[in-house]
Every structure is written in C-alpha cells, then in structure tokens.
C-alpha cells in the first residue's frame, strides 16, 4: 500500500480524536436523554458560522459561543412556560439555523461552502484544526474526569445528588459547555446534521457490552474511533462522502455489537 497522503493522516488523527472525546460525552447524552438537545445545539452552529463571517472572527470560537449561549438559555429553569421543553428547543434551534442561513445568503460578497458545514469536510482538516481538536479534546477529557462522579449522581437523581452535596446546577452547566465545545470542533468532521450521531450511536452500541458506566464510555470511544477509520476507508474505496460514511460505519458497528451481544447472551 502506498504511503498515506497527508490530508488522510490529518483526517484520521482528527476524526479518531473527536470520536474518543465524544465517547464519554455521548454516554451522558444517551443517559440524560439529550439526543435532541445535542441536535438543537448543532443546528444553531450555523448561526455561529454566519456571525463569524459577518464579524470576521474565528469560526470555531464563534460556533462555540453560539452553542454555549443556546445551551445556557436552554438549561435555565423555565417554570413559567406552558410549552414542553422539546418544543422550545425546536423553536430556538430551527430559528437559529434559519437565521444563520439567511445571514449567510445576504452576504453577496461571500461564497462559503454551506455543504461542508452541513455534512462536514473531514478531508479538509488542517493542522490548525488538529491543534483545536487535540487541545480542546484533552481539556474536555480532563474536565469530564473531574465531573464524572457528580454528573453521574445528578443524572441518576438530581435532588438526591443535591441533598448529598453535589452542585448539580454547576456540574450540568459545565457539561453543557463541554458539549458545545465538542459540537463546535466536531462540526468540521461530520457536519452539523450528523454530529449528534457521532455522540449517540457509539454510546448506544457500547451499551450492549458494558456492565459499568465507565466501560460504556470507553466502549463508545473505541467504537467511535473504529467508525471514523472504517468510514474514511469506505469513502476512499467507494468514493463516498466521508462524513455520512463515518455515520454509516457507526451504524454498522452498532448493529454488529448489539447483534453479537444478543447471540452471546442466548448461548449463556
């Protein structure tokens, strides 16, 4: 086999790094039933892109900021609202997405590749992106390690955790901010329409063979990493778009692991 081109090495490094970080975050997205929340945050990312172009600031930073604002707006207690949470979430997310699209369209002098934000452009990952991914990834994993037990306790029962001394609101906010960071950085790989799947599919697959929360998180990182490798390989062989190929690889792994776990359990 020929030596891998640089862009492919960068894609692999960046993709696997994102998948590894997405593992422990994704399990909490699954446990806390936040799949739709993650999707909403990702949708609003386009507004970040639009604002970055408008104000000429760093795109990743702008996306992070918008995601965080949305996250904080969403976790604030809303006792007075008569509408269900997912409805409010939808209004906010789709509103932000539409606003982003309009702002981008109105800037005549700018031609940006909208598709690369919607579906990702992992093969275009630059060394600068890699620095973001590794820096942000290490920081995110470090923070996750610190808040792991309190976040888990709060996920199981918020009030019980609070009575037992967990700063529930603070821990939840930290997790939301981390999620915003991972979504902003991961956007480059699989795009805003598919980033949620990179969070939840590996985590869901890992459930089948995990007996502890930590095993599930590690399993999710592993399966996510394999999905990135498999998806990139597939996209090279069949010349398919890389982002969706990674998601398909994750789905195949999910089917494989879940099926294998079921057969194994039947034998027992």
């Amino acid at each position: 086999m020929a030596i891998m081109p640089d862009f492919l090495i960068r894609a692999l490094l960046g993709g696997v790094a994102i998948a590894v970080v997405a593992g422990p975050m994704g399990v909490f997205v699954v446990w806390r039933r936040m799949a739709y929340f993650g999707a909403a945050m990702a949708h609003s990312a386009l507004l970040g892109v639009a604002l970055a172009l408008l104000l000429e600031v760093n795109i990743t930073l702008a996306i992070m900021t918008v995601c965080m604002v949305i996250a904080v707006a969403l976790v604030r207690p809303r006792r007075r609202s008569t509408l269900p949470d997912d409805t409010l979430l939808g209004i906010l997310a789709h509103g932000a997405l539409a606003l982003g699209l309009v702002v981008i369209a109105l800037q005549d002098n700018l031609r940006i590749d909208l598709l690369s934000y919607l579906f990702g452009d992992i093969l275009a990952v630059t060394e600068g992106d890699l620095a973001w991914i590794f820096g942000g990834g290490v920081a995110a994993l470090g923070v996750m390690a610190v808040i792991w037990r309190p976040l888990l306790a709060a996920t199981v029962h918020e009030e019980l955790a609070q009575v037992e001394g967990v700063a529930v609101a603070r821990v939840r906010l930290i997790f939301m901010v981390l999620l915003a960071v991972v979504i902003a950085v991961g956007l480059k790989l699989v795009g805003m329409l598919l980033i949620t799947s990179l969070l939840i599919i590996p985590a869901a697959a890992a459930r089948a063979c995990a007996a502890t929360p930590e095993q599930m998180a590690l399993g999710a990182s592993l399966i996510g990493g394999l999905a990135v490798i498999g998806g990139l390989y597939g996209s090279l062989v069949w010349d398919s778009p890389a982002g969706p190929s990674i998601v398909i690889a994750a789905m195949l792994l999910f089917a494989l692991v879940t099926g294998a776990a079921r057969i194994f359990r039947m034998r027992l």
Partner: protein, 258 residues
Amino acid sequence: MTPAKILAEASRVDVAFSGNAVLSNVDLVVREREIVTLIGPNGSGKSTLVRLVLGLLEADRGRVFLRPGLRIGYMPQRLVIDDALPLTVERFLALGGAATRRARLAALGEVAVARLADTPIQKISGGEMQRVLLARALLREPDLLVLDEPAQGVDMTGQAELFKLITGIRDRRGCGVLMVSHDLHLVMASSDSVVCLNTHVCCTGHPETVTRHPAYIELFGPLATEGLAVYTHRHDHRHGPDGRVVEHDHTNSHGDHA
C-alpha cells in the same frame, strides 16, 4: 428527663407556587430519636415541606432551622433508572459519596438486601428498590432520615416490614426520622408524632390523638377512624423483601442484631 434535642424545625413557613399557596403558616419539629410522619391528601404540601427541610427549596416566609452540622440521609419518592445506564446496586450506592465496599455491603445488610449488591439496579423489584434507597440514605451516617413515601410500590405485608425496619433503624442508630406517607394506619403504628397537613397544619400530635381529632376525621372521612385507627401489626412470621415468608427468625437478616 430533659427534652430531646431539636434536629430540624420549620416555623410559620409560607410557600406559594405562581400565586397558589402550597404551605401557609406551617410549623414542624423533628427531635432526636423521634419518628414524625406527614400525612395529608395529594397536593397538601407534604413534599414541599420535605423539600424545605432538605434545602431544595426556600420558604417565601418563615424560617427553617437545621441543627448545625446536621447530616441528612434522604430517600426520594421514586427512582427509575434508565435501562441505558449500566449500574449495579453497589455502584448506585457508591454514587452517594465516599464509602468503602465493606460499608456499602453492611448498609445493604442492614436493610436485608445484601444479596443484591452486584445485581443491575434495573432488575430489582419495587420493594427492593425502596430498601436500596434506604441503604444509600444510611450510608450518609445520618442524624436525620428524610423518607418521601417510603412504602410506595410496596405491598401491604412488605409495608409492615419496611416500617418495622425503619423503627429498628431509629432504635439502633438513634436518628430522627421525617417521613411522608398517605397510607394512614401503618404509619400510625410506627410514628411518635403525626402532622396532618392540608396546606396548613390541620392537627398534630400522637397518632392516637390525631385520629380522634375532628380535623383529621373531616379530612380523611369517618372510615379512617373505624377499625383502622391504630394499626398494630402482629406477625408470627417474617417476610423477605420480595414478600416470601421467611421461616426462621435467625435465618433472615432484618437488621435484628440480637
């Protein structure tokens, strides 16, 4: 005899949610070694009063006093853990804070479910879950146990066992107990003091006094006093947490360290 020390006290507290009074001018005292039970119809403010004591909620008016350094063990009303979260019973207990595996097994033993330590928490029954929650509260080494509807989802005989367990814990550990229930007669038999709540305190005092109080009869109807008034359960056998009859006293571990 000097009166027992006060663990927690609410004085003249008011709480309203969006203009609707949930608690008005409510007093509550829980002393050392005392089992205080809050009874009242749905929506009478029982859980709100408990949340005040737990510090999960602030009163609009009045004050809540907790003895300085008071350790509270809390057993929430109901807990359903998502199947997506792989968690054994023992790991669930570990989430409550630093404690050794030995301490966790001992706590499970105290509530007679030590055999469940390595069982996935989604696989245990409702009655077993209540005991596991109680074990988690006990691991806090509490001065005050706060139990929100501990008998929920537990059948009648199981309830009798549970209340016996709670009184046993009080006797052994000397902690105070604040309990919410809407099951009348079982509670009556195991409480030192009953607070009958319906936004305001209707009546309060010893179980026998309360059941004869006109406000109590008005609230729960005359049926509540007939035959059920003070229920003293006498069992010549014991039940396991799953409801099975356990034949010999010395083979089970209902926490009797006789």
